[in-house]
Amino acid sequence: MSGHAGFILSFIAFSAVLLAAPLLAAGLRTRSNWISAACMLGVLTFALITSNGVLAYLALALVTAIHAASAWHKAPTGALYLLAAAATLVATALALAFASDTLAFGLSCVALALRAGLAPFHAGVAEMCMKQRELLLQQSSSLLILVLAHLYYIDHLPIAYEMAPMLVIWGALLTLVYALTALVQRELGGLLRSSTLMHAGMLYAAVGAGARGHYGAALLVAVSVVFALGGLALTISALEARVGKISLTGPGVGRARAFPRLAAAFAFFGGASVGMPGTAGFISDDVLLHALWEESPAGAIIIIFGSAILAVATLSILAKAFFGPPMRVHTPDLSLQERSIVVLLVVLLLGLGLAPQLLVGVAELVLGNTI
């Protein structure tokens, strides 16, 4: 990427931290994935630092194909969708190579939808939310780079500028729809699914706003969504590994007494995902709403209500999953290894919430100056 060398270096350093966090978290959790995580980190860093859009998209396609291979046995639909995303990313690279702007824009949007889980391309991500949460966490780091690549190579095209209101409205509508579905989930994994699909809508709206110059807002939304949902996915899978699948249909069960740290982590990540003050979620929601208001006030209002509804659903599910008559269990609370991941994500979410300029300032300078 061209531009001021100092800013680019600091941007790369910061992005490496962002990239490494979800990969590290997934690697620590599964232990066996270290080598593939390290390979992916290398390819993603290449995608980040190369100044060539074609190469960046090809690198992203390679990483997506690796994700698909990891998902093949446990989440076949997820793997199929990831493969489709990889093929779409290759096609985007070709479209960029032949300077076909409209095609490149359309394909990149489809790839983003397939990776983020935007309806009607959401069946793959929805399945991963239920069956392959470690992979979901790992693929979120490459999703971040995909968002960045889209902002950098695609969002400055005239077609992206013209289509921005459509992306915003579609994203906003899906935000509301999936926030509503979160209200009626019958198992804990369902909250993660609804929340992920809801945030995919929000991300799409943010990318739409990015086409009108709001790069920082789009990037901040992507980062906070990845960290908050990553933490939520980790917490839910850690809990289900201890007590099995958790149904929400009956009265609440007091798991908070047995697993106080898990309950606190769930509450924190759930809160961060719906804009709890002090976390990156609050600031990204605020910035996104201001950006959206300029493009579509209706879209902004829909997202405000979507976010409020998801917050209610999250608290209600927290109550059903953790609060109630105490439960007798003999499994331990978060292990030291899991705690270290949780603390890392908490610190990142709080750090970005209290000092968001660290990320946004650099991103705005790099993206804003060069596009």
Partner: protein, 432 residues
């Protein structure tokens, strides 16, 4: 020296309690046995003390002068032409609310050390108290509506978690979810107002609200109504009053602090803060007067039929907040502020005394029922009012029936989404 003192005071009052609470939280997350009950109390109390001292420092630096001072700490975030300024605003109103909030929080913390001794959630209670103190100070000193909203949300989350403090019982948890639902839906109005104010006035700074009168009549009325919606939710005004009696499920000290003194008045503080907008929106003020008086009548009649001390106190509190709302909307802002402070001080004492009600009634005896004027003049109306008050005018049922279509829509959407996902999923071999 004075500007330094002002800045340090502001920083201490806002960041002190938050820092101590976060420290306790991280220590508990790392190693829970490191912290004894006494250590938790001392650390959190230290934060609350810092908040109070910070408020006093700001008071000394400002000396209750008539002028408002803006203290600029740069910006929280700046993207393109949009920024959230880290701007604090010190005037008489901010000082009164800051001192009231920090002093009462400190007092309640001392009371709770004994009251909650050996309770399972002791550390949780004090951590939340610290976050609440930060929220209160942020609301009091916020120089921009975005900052105000951050403090406002922190208070709302703490409030819901305090209501569900005894989470092993079903009822407190259900009440917490109900209160939080009311908060969040009403807060959507606040967010819409903040974003539109920023777009229309170019900033959300409190001092910039003076320019609201330049906006068109309809626009300013809509913004005022959105802000009032948030205030009605937080201060439990009609039709959002049903969460308040349920909020009494929380421990008594938190009830005293939240629903007797500070949190219940935050909505009214917001209306005092945005008085330039209210002045330019007479229709919204009329709405506030109607809602305030209706809430006062509703709460006063329900309070007379309540048999439990905290429930009756909650409705008595609500009646007074209704009156304060009406006073603000009539334009008697100074009178409303005095009323607010006196009311908060009285209620905190009454709530903290509430567990002693049985002992008091044994000591002083019961007051015999004397027929009211309404009972004498219109006995049928009085009976009807009594019956309605017993059921709290079925506010809960009415709210539930309002929410029912939303839940039906959510169920339908979830079903449709499942069908869509199934049709788009890869069929798995049943033998694999």
């Amino acid at each position: 020296m004075m500007p330094d003192m002002l800045q340090w005071g502001l920083v201490l009052s806002i960041a002190g309690p938050l820092f101590c609470s976060l420290l306790v939280g991280l220590l508990l997350l790392a190693r829970s046995h490191w912290l004894t009950e006494n250590a938790v109390y001392k650390l959190c109390n230290c934060g609350l003390l810092l908040a109070f001292l910070g408020s006093l420092m700001v008071l000394v630096a400002h000396r209750f002068s008539g002028t408002a001072i803006e203290v600029d700490f740069g910006h929280w975030i700046s993207i393109g032409d949009y920024e959230i300024p880290a701007l604090l605003y010190v005037d008489r109103l901010a000082l009164v609310f800051s001192l009231l909030g920090s002093a009462l929080t400190l007092l309640v913390a001392r009371f709770s050390q004994t009251y909650l001794h050996k309770e399972a959630g002791f550390a949780r209670f004090f951590m939340l108290l610290g976050i609440f103190a930060t929220g209160t100070q942020l609301v009091a000193f916020a120089g921009a509506l975005d900052l105000f909203f951050a403090g406002w949300e922190a208070i709302g989350i703490c409030s819901a978690l305090f209501i569900g403090y005894f989470y092993e019982r079903e009822e407190p948890v259900r009440s917490a979810v109900r209160a939080f639902t009311t908060y969040r839906i009403c807060d959507a109005g606040f967010l819409v107002a903040i974003v539109s104010i920023h777009e229309l006035l170019g900033s959300t700074s409190i001092s910039g609200l003076m320019a609201a009168e330049d906006l068109g009549g309809v626009t300013v009325t809509l913004i005022a109504v959105m802000l009032m919606l948030a205030a009605f939710g937080k201060s439990a005004q009609l039709p959002f009053s049903s969460w308040l009696p349920r909020a009494m499920e929380g421990p008594t000290p938190s009830s005293a602090l939240f629903y007797g003194s500070v949190s219940i008045h935050i909505g009214l503080f917001l209306l005092l803060r945005i008085s330039p907008i209210l002045e330019a929106a007479p229709v919204a003020r009329a709405l506030g007067i109607v809602v305030g008086i209706a809430t006062a009548i509703y709460a006063a009649s329900v309070a007379r039929t309540h048999t439990d001390a905290k429930g009756a106190l909650a409705h008595a509190t609500l009646a007074q907040t209704g009156l304060i709302l009406a006073e603000i909307c009539f334009g008697f802002t100074t009178f409303a502020l005095i009323h607010l402070v006196c009311h908060a001080l009285l209620r905190v004492w009454q709530y903290l005394r509430a567990p002693n009600t049985m002992a008091d009634s044994h000591e002083f005896g019961h007051q015999a029922h004397t027929p009211s004027l309404l009972e004498k003049v219109l006995p049928r109306t009085s009976n009807w009012l009594y019956a309605q008050s017993l059921h709290r005018f079925r506010l809960d049922d009415r709210m539930d029936s309002t929410i029912a279509p939303v839940l039906w829509l959510a169920e339908s959407l979830a079903r449709w989404d499942e069908l869509l996902r199934r049709s788009l999923s890869r069929r798995q071999d049943p033998n694999s």
